[in-house]
């Protein structure tokens, strides 16, 4: 009894100390981020802070470069609209319970509009080449198109790896394990330096497309392992029953096995999507200016604002955090309903 009381007392003393510490830290954070912070794009006010408060002014000053990279200034309503188109598509697919042909049509038209807005060259929109693309639209584009390309590749690789053909099994296994064994940076280097050597002389595939192919190969290998787990979890009887009904291999896989397998691994696939969203930040290493790279672009060359890169990075971290957190919460909600 005494021992328990003593424990209780220690526990609450610890609680109190921790609580006070947290309150103190929380107050300082609030003080730094809000009370003392400079929200206006006033560099001299930011410098006058000497670190006592956050300089969100760097975002207010540089938001165009941060969000749109090197996209031509007078055309920036287009990437802005493209962001909303993409967010609308994602929102519509998340909210609506009915999946199927209409959703597919919506995505097809939505992505066409998205690309048309960014690229232009039609309907009187000025042409903007891919090296000028950047910021948030580029992050969204790499994530969504990366996932869209990686998913079918992953399904094929997974089917190949659990299939009956030994040669195909070996090939898929070797590909998956090699890609999973190397860092994404190495794959991006391949996209940047090796792919051009594979093209006939004079062919110039835009860097963006090459990097996208690299991302698809990388994410495809990881997702293949997730899907393989799902395929192995579907009872053997399912395939045998479908086969005995006289269905072909592809018919069995597409309408019997895969739907069950994918439902089982939906949360894990969602994790792959979150990982890919975060991994797109690496493309700065091969010279594409998505959200993370665009901030460097905005402040590195500007002596007035260079000192406030930290505040800019924190702002971007908040954007990524919201995206990832929303996705993981959505994944949990899906788990409960299916």
């Amino acid at each position: 009894m005494m021992a328990r009381l003593k424990r209780r007392a220690w526990l609450s003393a610890g609680n109190l100390a921790l609580g006070i510490l947290l309150l103190w830290a929380g107050w300082h954070l609030f003080d730094w981020a809000v009370l003392q912070a400079v929200f206006l794009p006033d560099a001299s006010a930011c410098h006058a802070l000497e670190g006592a408060g956050a300089c969100w002014g760097v975002v207010a000053e540089k938001y165009r470069v941060i969000f749109f990279g090197r996209y031509p200034l007078e055309e920036q309503w287009r990437p802005l609209l493209a962001i909303f188109v993409m967010l609308g598509l994602l929102g519509a697919s998340a909210i609506r319970r009915r999946r199927g042909r209409r959703l597919a049509l919506l995505w097809a038209s939505g992505l066409t509009v998205f690309l048309l807005l960014l690229k232009g060259g039609l309907f009187g929109l000025a042409n903007v080449d891919t090296p000028r693309w950047g910021g948030l639209p580029l992050t969204l584009m790499l994530t969504v198109f990366g996932l869209g390309g990686a998913f079918p590749l992953a399904v094929l690789l997974a089917l190949g790896r659990v299939g009956r053909w030994a040669a195909l099994r070996a090939l898929c296994t070797v590909f998956i394990e090699i890609v999973r064994g190397v860092p994404l940076v190495a794959v991006l280097f391949m996209a940047a330096f090796l792919f051009p050597l594979l093209m006939p002389k004079g062919w110039d595939i835009p860097s963006l497309l090459r990097v996208l192919v690299g991302i698809i190969l990388f994410a495809g290998a990881y997702m293949a392992e997730v899907i393989r787990g799902g395929l192995l979890a579907v009872p053997k009887g399912q395939a045998e029953a479908a086969q005995s009904l006289g269905l072909s291999y592809w018919h069995v896989q597409l309408s019997v096995i895969l739907p069950q397998a994918l439902r089982k691994v939906l949360p894990a696939l969602m994790n792959s999507a979150i990982a890919l969203f975060k991994d797109t930040s690496l493309v700065i290493i091969v010279g594409l200016f998505e959200l993370t790279g665009a901030l460097g672009l905005a402040v590195d060359g500007d002596p007035k604002w260079r000192a406030f890169a930290l505040d800019g990075y924190l702002f971007i971290a908040i954007i990524y955090w919201i995206g990832c957190f929303a996705m993981s919460r959505y994944s949990r909600a899906l788990e409960r309903t299916t």
Binding site: L11, A186, F189, L194, A309
Partner: protein, 327 residues
């Protein structure tokens, strides 16, 4: 029927091998066209660049091959430090999420949610900018442990600490001394190293915490109750009953996280810490041997991955053997 399947498979394999051979020929021809002779002979040539952070002696007169060794050692160094630190932090945060102290548990959950949902690259950059921007110049360095503790200094040039060296056949502790511009003597961890190691640790530990939490929760509540009923206290229950059982299901996903950590150490290139990838990047831009440099990166990481997987697999097998059960 069987024969046809074999024939088709053979055909696929031959077609893929031929394609690879064809691509290799094309690449070799293109490289010769650019005036670069394919092959690893260039590793013996003079590198001509300096490396800021080295564990073995290196200067611009040394070869590309030695530069790669320097890079590999740096990769291993930063990965080892981050592995040890993230295992410790991950274990604390993972068990902490289940702690009876609600406040501490909440704090651990908040930590995991915060650091898992921000890209690692961004975390590396944030820590780096923080260090570079907020630390004092060397001649105003912070004396970390005060004037009486061990001689550890923190400044823009990094963390300088005493380091044992051989001198006249005896091992002595050499202390860092402030020169005109920076510290000399002892050992110095550069801000780049600290940024990469710290960000890798914070990021990976958040994932390890989830692995630890999941495994501990998967141990049946009855086991815990039985242990408490036998008179073990809370700490003993955790140490002798819960953790040994949790370890079994913990090691495979833990191995995965360590593999990720090693691969993620390649982000060092973003802040200029000279790891293997950074050295390869410089070399391929300078010498044009892109294919060879990428091949070296891939082979080294595959080897490191296999090595880690083998070590963790061996540990897992030994644990299962000793506990005499199946996972």
């Amino acid at each position: 029927m069987k024969l046809r399947a074999y024939a088709l498979q053979a055909l696929i394999v031959v077609a893929i091998l031929l394609t690879l051979y064809g691509l290799a020929t094309v690449v070799a021809a293109r490289m010769r066209g650019l005036g670069v002779e394919p092959g690893f002979g260039f590793l013996g040539q003079r590198a001509g660049f300096d490396i800021g952070d080295t564990l073995i002696d290196f200067d611009a007169a040394d070869t590309y091959g030695r530069a790669f060794v320097v890079g590999l050692l740096n990769t291993v160094a930063v990965a080892l430090v981050a592995i040890v630190a993230s295992l410790l932090l991950g274990a604390v945060a993972g068990l902490g999420q289940l702690a009876r102290n609600r406040l501490f548990a909440r704090l651990c959950v908040a930590y995991v949610e915060l650091f898992r949902n921000v890209p690692l690259l961004l975390q590396v950059l944030i820590v780096y900018v923080l260090l570079i921007g907020r630390l004092p110049l060397p001649h105003e360095a912070w004396h970390v442990f005060g004037d009486w503790g061990p001689d550890v200094w923190l400044s823009k040039s990094g963390l300088s600490l005493p380091w044992p060296v051989w001198s006249n056949g005896a091992l002595i502790l050499e202390r860092p001394v402030l020169g005109t511009f920076t510290f000399s003597g002892g050992a110095t961890l550069t801000p780049e190293f600290i940024a990469v190691a710290a960000a890798l640790t914070l990021f990976t530990a958040a994932y390890i915490a989830e692995v630890v939490r999941g495994s501990v929760q998967s141990v049946s509540q009855r086991q815990r109750e039985a242990a408490l009923a036998l008179g073990l206290d809370e700490a003993q229950t955790l140490r002798f009953v819960v953790v040994p059982q949790a370890l079994r299901s913990m090691i495979p996903p833990l191995a995965n996280q360590l593999l990720n950590l090693i691969k993620n150490s390649s982000l060092a290139v973003a802040v200029g810490y000279p790891d293997l990838v950074a050295v390869a990047d410089t070399t391929l831009n300078q010498s044009g041997h892109a294919v060879e440099c990428i091949a070296i990166i891939m082979v080294v990481y595959l080897f490191l991955s296999l090595l880690t997987a083998a070590i963790m697999g061996g540990w897992h097998a030994r644990l299962l053997r000793r506990q005499g059960g199946s996972a």
